[in-house]
Symmetry: C2
Subunit: 411 residues, 2 copies
């Protein structure tokens, strides 16, 4: 007889069925459950339960005892508490943009949440070159509502400090500090680079002292700037999407950090999708259509974010000094500077570091793959070094288009 109330153990499919029947209040009495592990993330086991009688379905997500990305990364199972609390908070701040949470179990380190199987992982969908015209609108609402509203601009400062404390996330922050801000920028053993790009990386990334210095500044800003409660891992693999719905998942990296971290992650991963389209769509018309959609989406993510952020500030700022003339613009300027820099960091680290992205990896032709990597690395470096001047959606797109045409001309 399985006992879920005493001590954590790693569940397999049949355990999850028993768990659902005995510990959850979701399915009917005469349920006929099947269960499948569908996880492809790095930190959790994700089970999908379906009742063949009612058709109802549910996700049970259990934290593994160690991170799946590699046995090297030991992460506290406390991240599931953080995930369940942050989902509640995100649900309150940005209703409709995160899955519903039904249950959290601190012993088994698992939670039960809305099944989003009618959605797709956005990265997968973009690699199939599907387009989602509402995405920029949805994601900017999600980001403004979560980032602005958890900051000292809106949240009462004592309450905000309690949130900072509650969402302190040392192990997962360490992963980001190492994998995003440190390892990609020197010849670190743990990097996973495409051999054809090694020379380019050596010359343009690892041998650039100025770039290294900027990454050091950004790493310290990441570690010390408790501005907003971030999602912390907001790439297209953390977004479930369908035509009329966008759901942000996997917030276990959540902590108080620079707000631009989330925005930059979104933009960088859209750029990966753009570059993927550039090299993998053979039909000219289809390619143009997809690239135009991606350009438009990148533009809109920045520009709608800016617009909604300023509007939300006027509507919701509670801090007296936040209403002083000029402060809102100063604050947004800093947030966008961080956005630009993180866009650059994410472009570099997903190409050089341990956690590559499918968008680039699926480019089969070696010459194309190298060209794609040159584009994202050159753009990435530019975003890091020129973060003081790039501000509008158009500025972002121009950097990418410039390198795309430059690299293709050279090839």
């Amino acid at each position: 007889m399985l006992d879920f109330t005493k001590e954590y153990f790693k569940m397999v499919e049949k355990d999850v069925i028993v768990y659902a029947k005995t510990r959850l209040d979701f399915f009917d009495e005469d349920v006929e459950l099947s269960c499948e592990e569908i996880g492809d993330g790095n930190l959790n086991y994700v089970f999908r339960l379906v009742d063949s009688k009612s058709g109802k379905s549910l996700i049970v997500k259990q934290a593994g005892p160690v991170a799946r990305i590699s046995d090297e990364f030991k992460v506290s199972p406390d991240r599931n508490r953080i995930e369940s609390e942050i989902l509640s908070l995100q649900h309150k701040l940005a209703p409709g943009f995160v899955p519903k949470m039904y249950h959290y179990d601190p012993i088994m380190n698992c939670c039960a949440m809305e099944d989003l199987s009618d959605h797709e992982i956005m990265r997968t969908a973009l690699i199939k070159h599907k387009t989602f015209p509402l995405f920029a609108d949805h994601i900017t609402t999600f980001m403004v509502n979560t980032l602005l509203h958890t900051s000292d601009v809106v949240t009462e400062h004592k309450e905000k400090k309690e949130l900072v404390k509650s969402f302190t996330n040392p192990e997962l922050c360490e992963i980001t500090e190492d994998l995003v801000y440190t390892e990609p920028f020197f010849d670190c053993e743990r990097n996973d680079i495409f051999e054809g790009s090694r020379e380019f990386i050596k010359e343009h990334i690892w041998n650039d002292e100025k770039l290294a210095l900027e990454t050091a500044k950004l790493k310290f800003e990441f570690m010390t700037h408790s501005q907003s409660l971030l999602h912390g891992d907001l790439h297209t693999g953390s977004i479930f999407i369908k035509e009329d719905s966008t759901k942000v998942i996997d917030p276990e990296f959540a902590f108080y950090g620079p707000a631009g971290y989330d925005v930059g992650n979104v933009v960088a991963n859209l750029i990966f999708a753009y570059v993927n389209g550039k090299f993998t769509i053979e039909d000219d018309g289809e390619r143009d259509k997809f690239l135009q959609y991606m350009e438009k989406t990148i533009r809109e993510v920045i520009d709608l974010f800016t617009e909604k952020f300023l509007y939300g500030w006027d509507e919701h700022a509670t801090e007296r000094v936040a209403t002083y003339p000029g402060f809102k613009e100063y604050y947004l300027d800093g947030l966008l500077r961080d956005t630009v820099a993180v866009t650059g960091l994410e472009l570099c680290r997903r190409t050089i570091g341990i956690a590559g992205v499918k968008d680039i990896q699926v480019i089969k032709n070696e010459k194309d793959r190298v060209a794609a990597e040159k584009i994202v690395l050159s753009a990435g470096k530019t975003f890091i070094l020129e973060r003081d001047t790039i501000r509008t959606g158009d500025d972002f797109v121009k950097v990418v288009l410039n390198y795309a045409s430059k690299v293709l001309k050279e090839a």
Copy 2:
């Protein structure tokens, strides 16, 4: 029969004697204790116990149920836990520069610590125009050791995040946010201004939109930049001093914030002592001697801090990216920028806000008092607005000397 083990109550002298005899292991069996309340701080009751037989003495410090500064400020008695923990940490990092802690009692919210009655409160001593040639050396060692060593430059990042969590201090930070960063810069009811200075304050501080904007930026940096474990209230009233010894006390405002906050507080309060000497020492030779000592001390606090900080960095930095060429200088530059700004904020808020300083208040002649306030407010404003360019001890002193001669010429 007094019971100290059940529930907090506010002790008076005779209770403290019983407390010392029954709860502390400090005095001999046949002790003959006398007790006196000697506190002049705003948050705590401070009792001095003396054994007339052995001559041994001890301080017992108890948190009041509300802050003494005013009934408006309710502060958590948890600050005594923070104080006892931070004193242990400071003792480890900067041995000899904080009082020894013998005992902490979470129920009575009190602690027993080394009696420093052979020292004086530094502000009081400076108002008597005593000089302490070792002070700059001592305080810069204390600051570098506590500020550099608790930062991400030296402390392992996961451990640092636990320290940030442990020293989260919402109520006392709120006091600083309000009294230092907000209220002095508009015509707030709670301000306590010298009527003769009202017109000057109105014209040069409250009506300056550019200044207001800069204070807003600084307030947000204070609230969101978790750089170092600060003392948080490092003025000359928090320092016990004698010729060969400097002891930093009252760390109940401790929290993770911008390192320059502590350094700027020290410098601003030295400037108050300078201005006090300028207006209250009648003998020319004595005045010159004292002012030269104060100038030298201000210079040395900045320049020795800089020197020891860079040396300490080279010796102790553990973070890889902290060793990248140029990063140390960039980091110190930001720390000094914050120092300049906080010097300015402290000069303004101690003149305009609710917590005035004796150095200025004891200037009896009204014209002199107004002149003194014009000097510190003009210098204060300059430090806030020109924080990007003032860097050396000499730069600091020049700002003060310039306004001192300008204001005296106009008078």
